[in-house]
């Protein structure tokens, strides 16, 4: 297939419009939900210390102005939905949402990352070409957009599913049914299935293998027209079922909504005409604006190159773990931003020892003096958290008179039901170790092997 031909292809603008509305409304609702659950307070304002992403240490919560950030994020999501000043709104949404996610990596979730990069992608897509308030302001609406703009969303969703399927091809997931074998029996309190089905070993295996095949195949079943409708039913079932099992917030709804992009434009046109009937405002009439056949991007070459680079990064980034020695699930070097979703059950206990180089005296730190229980839990089994916290403690206990502070950690971690083992070399002064993208030599290797991706 000729690339330039492909880039010239046109398709109905309806799928992007429906996607824009669905995305905007879900995001707006997510922000409101987050606020009402009190999480802005408990996750961003109450903690005295925040875990930063390497290179983004300058991104911190803004005290009570953090609420303003969420207001901006919520309003811009709503404006995206209605398509008012779309480009500015989606840009503001991308910035505010990404800022929120960068404030503290304790709350890292793969689907938050998806929202960040999806909203980045949407900055370059003409999602306001039709059925938007921008149409009324500019007095023109477009019937068609470049087909690749719709396909780009499909590609991103395909990457998410396929890569998370790939990640499940490992010996723990497939041959030990781990960690589902831990998680499912603990759902004994589910009605009907909790006391029996969730306890059965073959169910754990069935769900492990089923989950892997689902993730690997679902994007292709959605792309292929004859299987599409069944694939979509499966999407609904799968995501609602996982919603029942696990506390995964808005993720199921985002994926169900996102999968609609795979449908033909006839479906989206129906949705739009349905919405037009529901919305009681009759100013959305075609005589208020001119209908233009084709939407043309202003700087197509620039936009296409940005999006190409974006996808090259998306294709390669999840494989960066190959650059690191050791077990990925254990060392977690290259683990995030790679669609490794619900893949490991890891629990840790990390207690820090503050020692004096000269006198040799030492004492242990109470983590709850500095961290919230959630932060302590996340810190205890992730090396970059441990290092960052060790430096925080080192700085905290150093003073003008005392420059001899050393920070050691007594850290034990259990992975996927294995007995816990020491995680960090207890003789390494972490205050002396610098954060970098290099391999962290002070992580003790897992005394076992997990095969696979």
């Amino acid at each position: 297939m000729n690339t330039s031909n492909y880039l010239e292809k046109k398709y109905s603008s309806a799928p992007l419009a429906v996607f824009r509305i669905g995305f905007g409304l879900l995001m707006c609702f997510s922000i409101i939900r987050f606020w009402f659950k009190g999480w802005i307070e408990t996750l961003y304002i109450e903690p005295s210390f925040h875990f930063s992403y390497y290179g983004f240490e300058w991104v911190k919560p803004l005290d009570h102005y953090t609420y303003v950030l969420f207001i901006i994020c919520g309003i811009s999501a709503f404006l995206v939905a209605v398509g008012l000043k779309y480009r500015l709104s989606i840009f503001l949404f991308f910035l505010s949402f990404t800022y929120i996610e960068l404030m503290d990596k304790t709350t890292y979730l793969n689907h938050y990352y998806l929202i960040s990069i999806l909203s980045f992608l949407m900055i370059f897509l003409p999602a306001n070409a039709s059925f938007s308030i921008d149409n009324l302001i500019k007095k023109r609406s477009y019937l068609q957009v470049p087909k690749w703009t719709i396909d780009s969303i499909k590609i991103l969703l395909t990457i998410v599913y396929f890569y998370s399927g790939l990640a499940k091809i490992n010996s723990d997931w497939l041959f030990k049914a781990m960690p589902l074998k831990i998680w499912l029996p603990s759902k004994f309190d589910l009605p009907l299935i909790g006391e029996n089905l969730m306890q059965l070993e073959w169910v754990h295996y069935l769900m492990s293998w089923g989950g892997m095949f689902y993730d690997l195949l679902i994007p292709f079943l959605l792309l292929y027209k004859p299987t599409r409708i069944y694939a979509f039913l499966l999407v609904i079932f799968f995501h609602l079922f996982t919603k029942v099992l696990f506390p995964i917030g808005m993720f199921p709804y985002i994926m169900i909504m996102g999968s609609l992009i795979f449908f033909d434009s006839s479906f989206h046109l129906k949705v739009i005409s349905l919405l037009k009937k529901i919305i009681p405002i009759n100013f959305i009439k075609s005589n208020h604006y001119k209908i233009v056949e084709i939407y043309r991007l202003k700087k197509p070459k620039f936009i296409v190159s940005i999006i190409s680079i974006f996808f090259i990064i998306q294709f390669l980034f999840p494989f960066r773990y190959l650059l690191y020695p050791g077990e990925l699930f254990w060392n977690e070097q290259g683990y995030r931003f790679s669609w490794r979703v619900m893949l490991v059950e890891k629990v840790g206990s990390s207690v820090f020892k503050i020692a004096n180089k000269k006198t040799g005296s030492f004492f242990y730190v109470n983590n709850d003096d500095f961290l919230t229980p959630f932060q302590e839990k996340q810190m205890s089994f992730q090396p970059d958290f441990i290092l960052e916290y060790a430096h925080f403690l080192g700085d905290y206990y150093s003073s003008n008179e005392d420059q001899d502070v050393q920070v050691y950690v007594d850290s034990y971690v259990a992975l996927n039901g294995r007995l816990s083992q020491r995680y960090v070399d207890k003789n390494v002064d972490l205050y002396n170790e610098k954060e970098s993208f290099k391999h962290k030599k002070w992580i003790l290797p897992l005394k076992d092997e997990i095969k696979g991706f």
Binding site: I193, N196, P247, G348, S349, P373, S420
Partner: protein, 371 residues
């Protein structure tokens, strides 16, 4: 056409969910529940461990109360010896219930009022002088309970004669002593009375949620082992958290001779609870240990269950190498305290990391999404 499809789609998905439901229902008739019976475990905990431990503790307090009355009436050496011995019996018994910080106990800050140490000596003296017995005041938590009694019975003067002098003629000291014991008895009564009603909701709350009895009690148990036992009784006095030993922070600082015996009682209570041994020691039932063993098909469960049991025994024998008098131990060879601390700490890791992972219970219940 499309709308028809949408309707069809929702209809079929509803059907699918419903089918799933009815399938499971029919199967649940065939398959007997194979999940660990937590309800049975809760009944065992309530009826064989928690309630007997509380009523036995209450009896020791009644005895202490009687001895207090006699002592206040006639403050002589033999009555002093008697009240002291009743104090110790009761203090040992307390070690078996401090971990059950649930229900009324949690609500009235029972453990903080009974056993916050070191006792706040100056504040106690002030209270005595001013006749202040407002024991619900947070700033009075370390001026009441067993540590305050420890001070009142062993620490208010240099020797027994001088101690007895303080109580002569129904003094302010006598009044404070009486108030202390009354408060302890009242709090205990209110906890025990509440259990009459609370038991029903306690044993029925078996879910895997933040507020369920099973999860709360397991968390309380681990928290107690980590803070109440490991840190308070050994770690803090040995200087683990401060760099230099704080011997005035030992439990029963004024008595001096019983810190080890109290620690051993606390560890015994821990071991019994973990093993599911009844309070009277005569029977056993469902426990954390058998729960872990039940899960062994999926994990290193049985290994873990046994490992915890053996590490607890190791901790116990390590404690047995210590002097009865922890102040002496800290002064003469604090390293032994630190080694003991490490032995106790190794079980904290097994509880918090391995056991909680096996049960899939969070140490905390942070309200946030996962992915």
């Amino acid at each position: 056409m499309i709308r028809k499809n949408i309707i069809l789609l929702f209809f079929t998905s509803l059907l699918l969910v419903n089918c799933g439901g009815s399938d499971d229902e029919s199967q649940s008739d065939d398959i007997a529940p194979i999940a660990y019976d937590r309800a049975k475990m809760l009944v065992h905990w309530a009826d064989k461990i928690i309630l007997p431990a509380h009523s036995s503790f209450k009896q020791t307090l009644i005895d202490l109360d009687n001895s207090t009355k006699s002592f206040v009436a006639i403050p002589n050496q033999s009555n002093l010896d008697d009240i002291r011995s009743k104090w110790l019996i009761s203090y040992k018994s307390w070690q078996h219930i401090e971990m059950f910080d649930i229900g009324k106990s949690e609500e009235i800050y029972f453990k903080s009022k009974m056993n916050s140490y070191p006792a706040f000596k100056t504040r106690i003296e002030n209270n005595i002088m001013l006749g202040n017995t407002n024991f619900d005041d947070v700033s009075n938590y370390s001026s009441q309970g067993f540590p305050a009694l420890d001070y009142m019975l062993f620490g208010i003067a240099s020797d027994d004669t001088n101690i007895l002098n303080k109580y002569t003629g129904g003094s302010d000291y006598s009044n404070y002593l009486t108030s202390l014991v009354n408060k302890m008895l009242n709090s205990t009564n209110s906890v025990i009375n509440d259990w009459t009603d609370y038991r029903t909701s306690f044993i029925s709350s078996t879910d895997n949620t933040a507020s369920s009895s099973v999860n709360k009690l397991i968390n309380d148990f681990i928290f107690y082992y980590e803070k109440g036992l490991r840190a308070n009784k050994v770690g803090i006095p040995a200087g683990v958290f401060s760099g230099n030993p704080l011997k005035e922070n030992v439990e029963a600082f004024y008595n001096k001779e019983v810190s080890k015996v109290l620690l051993l009682n606390a560890l015994d209570a821990t071991i019994k609870f973990y093993n599911g041994t009844s309070y009277d020691g005569l029977s056993s039932g469902p426990s954390l240990k058998s729960y872990l063993t039940h899960l062994n098909s999926s994990k290193d469960g049985s290994t873990l269950a046994a490992l915890i049991a053996s590490k607890l025994e190791t901790a116990k024998s390590q404690i047995n190498t210590l002097s009865n008098n922890f102040i002496n131990q800290i002064e003469s060879d604090n390293n032994k305290m630190l080694v003991t601390y490490d032995a106790i700490q190794s079980v904290v890791v097994l509880f918090k990391v391995d056991m909680l992972q096996a049960f899939s219970i969070n140490v905390d219940y942070t309200d946030a999404d996962g992915d």
